[in-house]
C-alpha cells in the first residue's frame, strides 16, 4: 500500500474524486451545444437543454455519484475558500454584465472584433473563475474550447459559425461520457444492506 502522508494531497484527492464522474463535463457540454443546436433548428424545445443541464448535474450527483463513492463534508478551509470565491464570482458576473451592457448596448460598436473581444473577455473571466472555484484544471481547457468556439462563431457568422461551438461542445461531451463510463466501471454500486450495517 504505497502511500504518501501528505494531508493536503489527501484532501485534494478526496475533492477531485467528486469530479471523476464526468457530470460537470456533460453539463457544460450541454450549455455549449444548446445555442449551436438552436441555430440549426426552429424547434424552441431544444432551448430546454439549458434547464436540463443543471438537472443532469444535480440528479447525476445524487443517483450516480453519491451511491458509488459515498458522502463527505469538507473541512472549514475548503468551505471558506469556496465562500470567498463565490463572492468574487458574484461580483465578476455583475461587473461583466455591466461591461456587456455598456459596450454592446450603449456604445454598440459596429466592428465584429470589438463585440467578440468584449464577450470573450467576459466569458473568460466568469468561466476561469468557475474552474478556479472548483479547483479542477481540465475545466480551464474546456473554457478555452468554449471561447474558441464562440470567437470562431462570431468570426465566421451564420450559418457556418455555430458548427465551431458545436464541435467544441462535442469534444467536451465525448470526454464527459468517457469519464462517466470509466467512473461507473471503477466504482460499481454496492449492495445497500452492506452499507446499512457498516459500523
Amino acid at each position: 500500500m504505497a502511500y504518501a502522508m501528505n494531508l493536503k494531497q489527501i484532501e485534494r484527492k478526496a475533492w477531485v474524486s467528486h469530479f471523476e464522474d464526468g457530470l460537470w463535463d456533460i453539463a457544460l457540454a450541454m450549455f455549449m451545444l444548446t445555442p449551436a443546436i438552436r441555430t440549426f433548428t426552429d424547434n424552441v424545445w431544444f432551448t430546454l437543454l439549458f434547464a436540463v443541464a443543471p438537472l443532469v448535474l444535480i440528479g447525476g450527483k445524487r443517483f450516480i455519484t453519491t451511491p458509488r463513492i459515498g458522502r463527505v463534508k469538507f473541512g472549514r478551509e475548503r468551505k471558506d475558500r469556496q465562500r470567498r470565491i463565490l463572492i468574487a464570482f458574484g461580483l465578476t458576473i455583475l461587473i461583466t454584465h455591466a461591461a456587456l451592457v455598456i459596450v454592446l448596448g450603449v456604445l454598440n460598436p459596429s466592428e465584429t472584433w470589438m463585440r467578440v473581444v468584449t464577450i470573450g473577455l467576459c466569458l473568460g473571466a466568469i468561466l476561469g473563475l468557475v474552474a478556479y472555484l472548483l479547483d479542477i484544471p481540465r475545466l480551464y481547457g474546456y473554457f478555452l474550447l468554449l471561447l474558441t468556439g464562440w470567437v470562431l462563431w462570431e468570426a465566421f457568422g451564420d450559418p457556418t459559425g455555430p458548427i465551431w461551438l458545436a464541435l467544441s461542445g462535442g469534444v467536451v461531451l465525448t470526454i464527459g461520457i468517457a469519464l462517466l463510463l470509466r467512473f461507473l466501471h471503477k466504482y460499481p454500486k454496492l449492495a445497500e444492506e452492506v452499507l446499512d450495517n457498516n459500523v
Binding site: 494531508l7 478526496a14 458509488r68 463513492i69 458522502r71 463527505v72 466504482y187 457498516n198 459500523v199
Partner: protein, 107 residues
C-alpha cells in the same frame, strides 16, 4: 564501546501503535482533512475492503479517536464518521514522533 543515551531512544517507544498501523493511519489522515465522511467514502478513498475498514474503525472508535454520528439523509438514516479531538492530537503527536525518529537516522 558505543554508549546509548536513553533519551535518544525515547520517541520510539512513545509511538502510538494504534495510529502506526498503515490502514488506521490512512483512515485517520482522511478524516483529519475533512469535516466528516461516510463509510463508503472512506472505503473508496483508502482502498480498504469492507471487513478491514470495519474492524479498524471499531478499534479507532474504542480508542476515542473517531466518533460515529447518525443523521438522516432524506428519510433514511445515515452514518457519518468524524475524527475526535483526541484523534487529531494523536495523529499530530504521531507525526511529531515519527519525524523525530526519522530525523535522527544516520545518512
Amino acid at each position: 564501546m558505543y554508549e546509548v543515551d536513553d533519551d535518544t531512544l525515547q520517541p520510539v517507544p512513545e509511538i502510538d501503535r494504534l495510529v502506526h498501523e498503515p490502514a488506521r493511519l490512512m483512515i485517520l489522515a482522511h478524516l483529519y482533512v475533512v469535516e466528516s465522511a461516510d463509510f463508503l467514502f472512506l472505503m473508496r478513498q483508502t482502498g480498504l475492503t469492507f471487513g478491514n475498514l470495519s474492524s479498524h474503525m471499531s478499534k479507532l472508535e474504542a480508542a476515542g479517536y473517531i466518533d460515529i454520528q447518525k443523521e438522516f439523509v432524506g428519510k433514511k438514516p445515515h452514518t457519518m464518521l468524524q475524527i475526535t479531538n483526541a484523534g487529531r492530537v494523536a495523529l499530530r503527536e504521531y507525526q511529531k514522533r515519527m519525524k523525530q525518529v526519522l530525523d535522527d537516522l544516520p545518512d
